[in-house]
Subunit: 280 residues, 2 copies
């Protein structure tokens, strides 16, 4: 699991810590030279997706490529969700996830609600970090600057030294770059996560029962529910409901999302995020 | 800067997160096999001091040894200070500090109040981490388990692989272990930090003026002051005062500590800690 893009992490830190809206945070990042004039590759998660594909190939020795990475970016994020996140003990981060078990691989990049006591939650501004769970070693993390001329030069020099050492050792790297395992992508029913939903719900009798029965039918249980009034002018018609589920499979998540979008009492599914970062 | 001892970090996490007193937390650590029957080397900071001496030698190429490391342990820590720490945004950690500038070195191990948004503050239980600030690369951190059979075996195997590679490369390590710089220990007037004091003060007119003038005389300014009543039976006679200073030199800190211990209105200096972890 990693925070592998400095620009988006800078923007998310501004939004989370200082309540700066997305557009202003992006402008600040551009002024500081972190974000490019066309920030698409960063904010839509493509740069992070490329890095996660490379890391997954190296870590799991299976030929993952960019098309196998599910990507969503940060350009649609609203401060409202950051505020609910704070109440719930979550920090919003653009997280790359690469997972390999039973010879099946899953790679994704998306805005994730990270539990605030997870080590990655304190990775701020333009810093990056990769959190690695090894079978024997357990949980490890590698943290450092994700941008800047001298940090980049340091990384390049470190690679040059590795190349020289490998030449002296007679190692050409094929053992690492030639995949040893056939690529088998993990199916949605074998992928698990906790999820957050923010719903605008018609404020009428039985609305909440209807919603909770959608979750019940799929055997998805709730960890937390919050209900809050929304804009004063709509107060009599709509309520804002936050649902935090317990762990469930990705196919059930997709099914309940579809159900919520189709049921009459739900005016709109405003947002939904994966929740990660249980500390053992 | 590092958390380099798993046993003490486990104990401090229990004390900080769950309010478990020191003796009980130590017992738990012993039951889990983290702490030995005689826990002295861990809880008095000696194990951490040895590691910091080795790290300082390798990092700075100067012949630091164990006697150069200022050490204090965690066996006297009281929950009261953890509670004040929470209010102030600090987490208590046993921190090894090794610092080298202008060819002068400083190495210490002590309980430190770490600002809660510093990456080391979220290093919990038996986990360890080393936070390295490099001249070019900037701030980096390396995090992983500090105890356990498989993590230890992983570290040993990694060392064995390094030895084999070095043999093949014809490198014997003398370049690293033979110090290149003469050892010059940093003088107290060149060492800086922020400090926390907890004082029991006689509740009488002018007491606070007397205390603040001690700090003023040394040109030490306050970042925060808290005053709280203490045990009901003493309420009329004593007040508990917390002082958080701005950055000052170590010699001034020592002088003000001596002054506080000698002035009549201060019944007792209950505790004092260094504060670290400003995030740039």
């Amino acid at each position: 699991m990693g925070i592998v893009n400095g620009t988006t992490n800078y923007i998310l830190t501004k939004m989370d810590d200082e309540g700066v809206p997305y557009d202003d945070a992006l402008k600040e990042a551009q002024e500081l030279g972190f974000a490019e004039a066309d920030p698409t590759a960063d904010v839509e998660g493509l740069d992070a997706a490329r890095k996660m594909a490379i890391l997954a190939r190296l870590a799991f020795s299976t030929p993952v490529d960019l098309n196998d990475v599910e990507v969503s970016g940060i350009s649609d994020l609203e401060l409202t969700d950051f505020q609910y996140g704070k109440k719930l003990g979550f920090t919003m981060k653009l997280i790359g996830i690469a997972n390999f078990d039973n010879n099946q691989v899953e790679v994704s990049v998306q805005p994730v609600f990270l539990k605030s006591d997870h080590p990655l939650a304190n990775v701020k501004n333009e810093y990056n970090a990769v959190y690695v769970n090894g079978e024997a070693v357990g949980e490890t993390m590698f943290y450092g600057p994700g941008a800047g001329s001298l940090p980049t030069a340091t990384a390049v020099m470190s690679d040059v030294v590795s190349v020289i050492k490998n030449k002296l050792l007679g190692v050409n790297g094929h053992r690492f770059t030639k995949p040893r395992f056939e690529k088998v992508l993990k199916k949605p029913e074998n992928r698990y996560g906790q999820f957050y939903f923010r719903l605008h719900v018609k404020d009428e009798v039985g609305a909440f029962t209807t919603i909770s029965s959608l979750f019940n039918q799929l055997n998805i249980s709730f960890e937390r529910i919050l209900q809050a009034p929304i804009k004063p002018e709509n107060r009599n018609e709509l309520a804002e409901v936050i649902v935090v589920t317990h762990e469930t499979s990705l196919d059930k998540f997709k099914k309940v999302l579809e159900d919520l979008q189709n049921v009459e009492v739900v005016e709109e599914v405003k947002s939904y995020f994966r929740i990660e970062g249980d500390v053992e």
